[in-house]
């Protein structure tokens, strides 16, 4: 039987698919007609996107050349470029004039520059992915305790002197520690598919406390040399980076980055909430587990040799999101590039701010990142209308 009762009523809109838009006379509808979606808003964000990538890319290249040339042994930018080009088989540009210039570049500076780029990209990408899966801009491996989980693993290797996996041993245990911490945070901070800001931050406090205690215990156990190593490692530093370390970190970072880019679309859908994401065909449970592993890989890569460098994963995605919007397909690569640029710049400052001293880079990023985190909490709180 037909109960299609209202179709002919004058006040009701006709049930044709395109109809329910509004009576044509509605004043606010009049101005909206010519704007089709797809044509309206694409421009400004697309322009900003290109500008951001171009700007960051250029900054990264310039910084890399400057950073490689800066230090006790100064190498002018032209000579840095010439040295690289010669190694690539191109006979272009001048070679370093100083007798030890070539050696300084290739055994000390370049590994450090490459490491800064890798670690910066890893930290920022880890932060982006974690914020995506928690649906919360305050989530960051350092804040929620993943970094300190990884730190426990790395310190264990320093104290015990284990080498069962060669130069990979530190990275392996850092990964295990980070994974354990991420799982703990994930299991405890979520309630009914969403994470309250306050729960997340407090969970981070708890995980960081336990991680800190474990590191303290390991420091207590270690001999003098191990203690000193732990202390400086904890401050975070790229000092003493060798190609062998880069060879361990690079594949981890590349793997994590590729995975993060592949997850981007699904992370977007997760912003709708877990049930709507499921309704759109996303296996949320599996996605979460994959993200947990990706975050642990990236954090382990960042922490293994360079120690805890906080707040990069917090600041970079947030700033990038403000410029290009929250879509992860752009956000993930842009954050990786931004993180690389930021950390390379920060390392340059750490090396040059005080003559003949290599400041701990973790100290620098925390000095800037701490106040930023505070500002972000205030902002998030205002947006959420209180802590609930």
């Amino acid at each position: 039987m037909s109960v299609d009762a209202r179709a002919a009523t004058p006040s009701a809109t006709s049930p044709a698919p395109s109809a329910p838009s509004a009576p044509a006379a509605a004043p606010e509808a009049a101005g909206t007609v010519p704007r089709g979606p797809g044509t309206v808003p694409a421009r400004p964000r697309a322009v900003r996107r290109v500008a951001l990538f171009a700007g960051l890319g250029a900054a990264l290249l310039v910084l890399a050349v400057v950073a490689a040339g800066t230090g006790q042994l100064h190498v002018p930018p032209a000579e840095v470029l010439g040295s690289v080009l010669h190694r690539l088989g191109l006979d272009v540009g001048p070679l370093p004039a100083h007798a030890h210039g070539e050696a300084a570049l290739w055994t000390v500076r370049f590994p450090r520059v490459v490491m800064a780029v890798l670690v910066g990209a890893a930290l920022a990408t880890g932060g982006t992915v974690m914020q995506g899966v928690f649906g919360n801009p305050l989530a960051e491996p350092g804040v929620v305790g993943v970094s300190s989980g990884a730190a426990v693993g790395a310190c264990l290797v320093i104290v015990t002197g284990w080498t069962f996996a060669g130069s990979w041993t530190v990275a392996l245990l850092a990964f295990a520690g980070g994974l354990a911490a991420t799982l703990v945070v994930y299991a405890t901070a979520r309630e009914a598919g969403r994470t309250e800001v306050v729960t997340l931050v407090l969970t981070g406090v708890a995980v960081n406390a336990v991680g800190g205690a474990a590191v303290a215990f390991l420091t207590f156990l270690g001999d003098t040399q191990a203690r000193e190593q732990i202390v400086f490692w904890q401050l975070g530093s790229l000092n003493g980076t060798r190609w062998a370390y880069v060879a361990v970190v690079a594949p981890l970072v590349v793997t994590g980055l590729v995975a993060a880019v592949l997850l981007a679309r699904r992370l977007d859908l997760l912003a709708l909430g877990e049930r709507p994401a499921r309704h759109l065909g996303v296996d949320v449970e599996r996605l979460r587990l994959v993200v947990v592993v990706v975050v642990a890989v990236l954090t382990a890569a960042a922490v293994a040799f360079c120690g805890v460098i906080a707040f990069v994963g917090l600041v970079v995605p947030h700033v990038v999101r403000m410029v290009v919007g929250p879509g992860h397909r752009v956000l993930v690569p842009a954050s990786a590039l931004g993180g690389a640029t930021l950390l390379l710049g920060a390392d340059l400052v750490a090396r040059t701010a005080v003559p003949y001293a290599d400041l701990p880079i973790g100290m620098l990023t925390a000095l800037v990142g701490g106040p930023f985190f505070f500002w972000l909490i205030r902002r998030t709180r205002r947006a959420a209308g209180g802590w609930a």
């Binding site: 109960v3 209202r6 002919a8 049930p15 797809g38 309206v40 679309r265 709507p276």
Partner: protein, 276 residues
């Protein structure tokens, strides 16, 4: 009489409290079913079970004759679209981005070529085309609901499950959203809508299912189901059903369902009796 979506003996309990108890429901293609009932009757839970979210403690839900939980999520997403009561988006995505997310199940299929056209049509249907560049958190409650509705339409499922789609909407958009939902039903879709406004349910539904304390109390055409006696009992509040003559084209008068109010002279004594 083949049902697109069928619930068989569904039971859901949270600890000792039974939210749904032995619920059977058939929804055929081409019909719009309104799910009504008092708060806590289990409407949203039933809709969630129909969309495949919580595993029922007993019974099962079949979509096209196959248990929901045995079907791949992507296959489900191409056939049924769900709009939840509360629309939330974690980051500042634009309304256009949110609606376009509804196209995700069709990625990598030939139908992805229609993405832009489908999204544009869905946004026009939900009257949110002018909101396309606005970011989701800056929208009002009603605008958010309409964007969520547009996203649901963009998914192009022919089983639509809508949980209180009109709760935050003004009169004009309530009518527009339900007219669109019924148009989908007329085009062959199976549509289930949770509603609180019984007059609205009467106007747009082919069938009304009344839930109370987790059980189906009545299931049938609006004129058979929406009676003063049943509604008064189910809602534990006196309810009148009025017939407005001459407003429909199928010979039946339009139903107006109104609560009896204590302040009106109609039946103050009855209210006091009911609540005493």
């Amino acid at each position: 009489m083949s049902a697109r979506l069928a619930a068989r003996g569904v039971r859901v309990a949270y600890g000792p409290s039974v939210v749904l108890d032995d619920v059977d429901l058939d929804v055929r293609g081409g019909e719009l079913v309104a799910l009504v009932g008092p708060n806590g009757a289990g409407k949203s839970t039933l809709l969630a079970v129909l969309s495949g979210d919580p595993r029922p403690d007993a019974g099962r839900v079949l979509l096209d004759g196959v248990d929901l939980r045995r079907q791949p999520l992507v296959d489900l997403a191409r056939r049924r679209a769900v709009m939840l009561q509360e629309a939330r988006v974690s980051f500042a995505f634009r309304a256009l981005d949110v609606v376009a997310m509804g196209r995700h199940p069709w990625r990598g299929t030939p139908r992805a070529a229609e993405d832009d056209a489908v999204v544009a049509r869905a946004m026009a249907d939900a009257d949110v085309a002018h909101l396309a560049p606005r970011t989701f958190p800056t929208l009002s409650g009603g605008e958010k609901a309409r964007v969520a509705f547009a996203r649901t339409l963009a998914q192009q499922g022919d089983v639509l499950l809508l949980d209180e789609p009109t709760a935050a909407l003004d009169v004009r958009h309530q009518e527009a959203v339900l007219a669109r939902a019924r148009a989908a039903a007329r085009a062959g879709a199976a549509v289930v809508v949770v509603l609180h406004d019984l007059t609205l349910a009467a106007a747009y539904a082919d069938r009304v299912v009344v839930l109370a304390t987790g059980r189906v109390r009545a299931d049938g055409p609006p004129h058979d189901v929406l009676t003063a006696a049943l509604l008064t009992e189910v809602y534990e509040h006196p309810v009148d059903v009025w017939h407005r003559p001459g407003t429909t084209d199928d010979g039946l008068p339009e139903l107006l369902v109104l609560p009896v109010r204590a302040a009106s002279a109609a039946a103050p004594a009855r209210v006091t009796e009911e609540t005493a």
